[in-house]
Symmetry: C2
Subunit: 414 residues, 2 copies
């Protein structure tokens, strides 16, 4: 992509009503635009990053037999009444349609997925099932000031699993744990802790995945013995690690980036989602649900990967791998060389964002490259083309080195 | 994908409240599920088809310099008031959030994209711009009985273009026309006509793309001279072809699958979207908008590609290219041979839906294959493995032929 063609620009300042760190960074760098509090557009660069996050999640969900579909946002009142959550769910958007019937905008999909799966499950042979979707959720928040971390409208991956019995649910639950750690690792998040949280009526604990972050809105307590986290709610009930009973706990700020929950029969019972077992007996289906806010995950990556100059995108979620910056491109010789390098890199299937702008100074170009934060910056200038090379620099490191383009390709194709 | 693992089943009957042909077909075949009138889930097979439709659209939009992004569904009242459409837009969902402010659920995005683009446009050098997104729209319809053709919640691609002057808009408008015809052709739609429709205040005509369809809800008049269509609204004003003035017009039923519209300065004026031209003068930006309902397009493909037995998916939008059906798979020899063929086809990057179910009769398997409607059916049975072959049949044709697997690959890889 040629930067001269990209319709968005970077900004030095952000409107004062934006107080969230991730949103300020992403707006400045041209990844998102704020329409209203808690409501953002993903601009071209932001959409590319979000798509990469989603595709990593898809691969890991598919690898644990998740089947992708897409459930709607408009939910009829009757399914939410069936579970008692029409009244109880605190941030549910509710309204009447032109047909005078009441609907909600879905903040989660147990009420939709359970009756849907019921249409396809009859016998034990039809289980287990795992289905997921990545879709836009809505929450009627009174305040929404955390950028991509807490939106009124936000994209989310939710996986639901359906099992013959608790044992099968337990096994699957462990598989999801592993898949979640893989996702967060591939997204470049370090310091992610499985954290014990309240489990509701059907399970002693549920689990959150918490990423340590200076400005995190959650407080967690890290067990120094077994490296799990405990959330505040649990700590108020018991002042020790639920796993090893150790009391040496370190208080940390963190951002919740995922949660997994054994639902048991909380939703299968009201919808009568049952099956006939091997002995011909009717049994309730055991369910689990597993969420990752995909926009929130992108916001968390920013909250944990930055320096004074801008974002430092981890390799696999950067919108492009390379920022190719052409200096002196008033000179035809230089701009021609840069064009050729752009072509060569693209032919080698490397993703290149090419700063071919003619009306920007080197200082502005470097500042933009740092702000946007792609993993590798390559500079082409009068100086570099004399040596038939480019200047190679990794974002977040100071060192620059002159390199032949073939070497760049070899280094980055690994 | 192994059919035994797919969580959805096909259905012989559909609930009586579903009266739309496309929805009945797609529900029976396991592509969509109905949550409420005008509100559907895309099941795994349906999501695959919908993704293919969307990816064709993406390629054609990118080829005319469209930049993809993702704008939100929740729109603050103030942007809709600015254009006077808060009151005038007849199917606008409106409601109050917890913060007591009013919002709409977006049925279209002129009110969002115009102020967004304004943040990035200053000079003539910043134009032209074309941006699009594929996103979920909402319309507060009193009745919604046309399946995927008219939803209360529906996915749509909308492209918006921004130009220095009318001439540049006119040129781009023609490019979009070509791109739209390419999209519909690649989606396997025949008999698509550019159709003249009312243009509103800023242009004499706008254009619809209409696909002839027996059960189409629109009536169009085809000019026998110049092969364009004319919609009813225009015909009521003038009883001839707007292009050649010919009065020989043939009345046809059709489905609208796209529309393109020159907006002029209808939206740039209220948002003061202007630029400084070469002479230093401030000018209003000229805009165009271009829509394709992606779910509607999928529904139209079904309404125009079927027989008594089921859907007949065009090659590029079928969820899988091949339905590999194993008969006699109680016999280990046969099921092993089918497994190997499945592997070989998949290794050759062919997309295979593999009916490996052990509890279904050949009749049930053939009925499902016809209903689901993949382009090619391959049968593996005791009979075919004796001849080291598979039975090859194209959906919609009667002829079957025994074929070596290498020949199948050669035939389908083209």
């Amino acid at each position: 992509m040629r930067q001269s063609k990209l319709f968005t620009k970077t900004f030095k300042e952000v409107s004062k009503d934006e107080t969230s760190f991730n949103a300020k960074m992403l707006i400045k760098a041209g990844f998102i635009d704020k329409l209203a509090a808690g409501i953002y557009t993903f601009l071209p660069l932001g959409l590319r990053t979000h798509n990469k996050v989603c595709n990593i999640i898809r691969e890991e969900m598919d690898s644990i037999d998740g089947q992708e579909m897409a459930m709607p946002a408009l939910h009829p009142k009757k399914v939410w009444e069936k579970t008692g959550r029409w009244k109880d769910f605190d941030v549910l958007f509710k309204f009447k349609l032109a047909n005078e019937k009441e609907y909600a905008l879905g903040p989660t999909h147990e009420e939709v997925v359970t009756p849907l799966v019921k249409k396809h499950v009859f016998s034990y042979k039809d289980l287990p099932i795992a289905v997921y979707h990545i879709q836009t959720k809505f929450r009627n928040e009174l305040r929404a000031k955390a950028g991509l971390l807490r939106g009124r409208e936000f994209p989310m991956k939710d996986l639901y699993s359906f099992h013959r019995d608790k044992k099968d649910l337990d096994n699957y639950y462990e598989k999801v744990k592993e898949a979640y750690f893989k996702i967060f690792k591939r997204c470049g998040l370090k310091n992610v802790y499985l954290t014990y949280a309240s489990g509701g009526a059907f399970s002693k604990y549920s689990h959150e995945f918490q990423a340590l972050a200076e400005k995190g809105e959650d407080t967690i307590y890290l067990c120094q013995e077994c490296s799990v986290g405990v959330n505040e709610e649990i700590i108020k009930e018991q002042d020790c690690c639920p796993l090893c009973k150790n009391k040496k706990l370190k208080k940390e700020k963190a951002i919740e980036i995922g949660n997994i929950f054994k639902l048991g029969t909380r939703f299968s019972k009201p919808f009568d989602l049952s099956y006939i077992d091997q002995k011909g007996k009717k049994k309730d289906v055991e369910m689990g649900c597993y969420g990752i806010g995909t926009g929130r995950l992108m916001g968390t990556i920013v909250e944990t990967n930055f320096d004074k100059k801008g974002i430092i995108w981890p390799d696999l979620v950067a919108p492009y791998q390379i920022h190719l910056v052409c200096l002196d491109n008033g000179k035809e010789k230089v701009s021609k060389a840069a064009d050729e390098i752009y072509q060569t890199l693209s032919d080698n299937k490397l993703e290149v964002f090419y700063d071919d702008r003619k009306d920007k100074s080197p200082g502005e170009k470097f500042a933009d490259a740092d702000l946007i934060g792609l993993p590798v910056r390559l500079v082409v200038s009068s100086k570099t083309i004399e040596k038939n090379s480019v200047e190679f620099k990794e974002r977040g490191k100071e060192k620059t080195e002159l390199m032949k383009i073939e070497e760049v390709i070899l280094r980055l194709k690994d």
